[in-house]
Symmetry: C2
Subunit: 205 residues, 2 copies
């Protein structure tokens, strides 16, 4: 692309470093900002700088937080003995929106992925094991995505904690509510039959 | 969405004000920035602020520029008597990349669109008419998109300048190079037959 302005080129280059945003989209976004009042760009820049420089991660669960401990960990009405292990804070938000979980979380910050160069030492696994070691946790729920990386991470953590007296579980895999059976993939359908539950239990949730 | 951090929520809200970016995408982008070195966010914010606050528009053609007159208008090798009227600077970039045009541009900054509340007074039409009035321009090429808004804008400008001794033209509409005739829409194919050109001329470009 031939830019008529170095400032414009620079801004487009920076925006297009974001994931999933190419040069054309970046140009569209920057030109949009140029048509808006200057305040819009000012607020956007400040919000990005603030969140990057001032946001904290909860010292207990590693969720993103404005305080040393996040709201969930500080909530005394929640059960601290049940901990749900998730990949990142988007998973926390997704589970929270169901209102079905009353325990705490532990955000790993990713999955073990040799291809992307992410090993156990890059994730918050040590602090999770130490929580279990101290006897703070009675049940650990693995809620990582069921990919090879997710399964590897689950298994790695399981190996570290199996010597302790603790219940482990994973979230149920099965047919989505409202889905037609005929369009479900074989693996999911197979698991949903193997892991069937008493009918009376299905009426609760 | 339930955010665990006000700073994060604020940043996501600002990013999702950009066109075509929803809350989920905004969250993905902000979380990406949080995983990157702080410099990345700093450079991005600075680049956006700089381009918004310091970029100029060329006083002659209204193209985006770092100087009072843009590089194209300053280029003495170009023919100032042929002016190509375009909607925005992306169109200038697109035509420049063909290397087939040696005149100057006039960037309107949009199209007349009553629905979006854009009238002739919101566009750079007056300065175009005054260029023609002064006799600076011999030929005007209309290169707006062939939508109702584009055609309206072309016609509005044409009405303002038809009293002056000036050639007007529009870019050719026809079948794209490499396209199959059978898949072309009727309007384009029809125009390409009505506006057929001597075969010898087609060998030049």
């Amino acid at each position: 692309m031939d830019f008529s302005s170095k400032l414009l080129e620079n801004a487009v280059n920076e925006v297009s470093r974001l994931p999933g945003i190419g040069k054309r989209t970046a140009l569209r976004l920057v030109l949009h900002l140029l048509k808006q009042p200057k305040d819009h760009t000012k607020f956007l820049s400040e919000a990005l700088l603030h969140v990057r420089n001032d946001v904290k991660t909860c010292e207990k669960c590693h969720n993103i937080s404005d305080t040393v401990f996040c709201d969930i960990c500080q909530n005394t009405k929640r059960n601290p003995e049940i901990v749900c292990v998730v990949e990142d804070i988007r998973d926390v938000m997704a589970i929270e929106s169901t209102s079905q979980f009353n325990g705490l979380y532990h955000v790993l910050g990713g999955k073990i992925s040799p291809i992307e160069g992410i090993g156990p030492q890059n994730l918050q696994i040590e602090s999770l094991v130490s929580k279990v070691e101290k006897g703070e946790v009675k049940e650990l729920i693995f809620a990582l995505s069921s990919t090879m990386e997710g399964d590897t991470t689950n298994f790695y953590i399981f190996k570290q904690i199996e010597k302790f007296d603790i219940t482990t579980s994973t979230i149920a895999r099965g047919i989505s509510v409202g889905d037609e059976l005929e369009y479900a993939d074989e693996v999911t359908l197979g698991r949903s039959i193997v892991n069937r539950i008493p009918f009376s239990q299905s009426l609760k949730a």
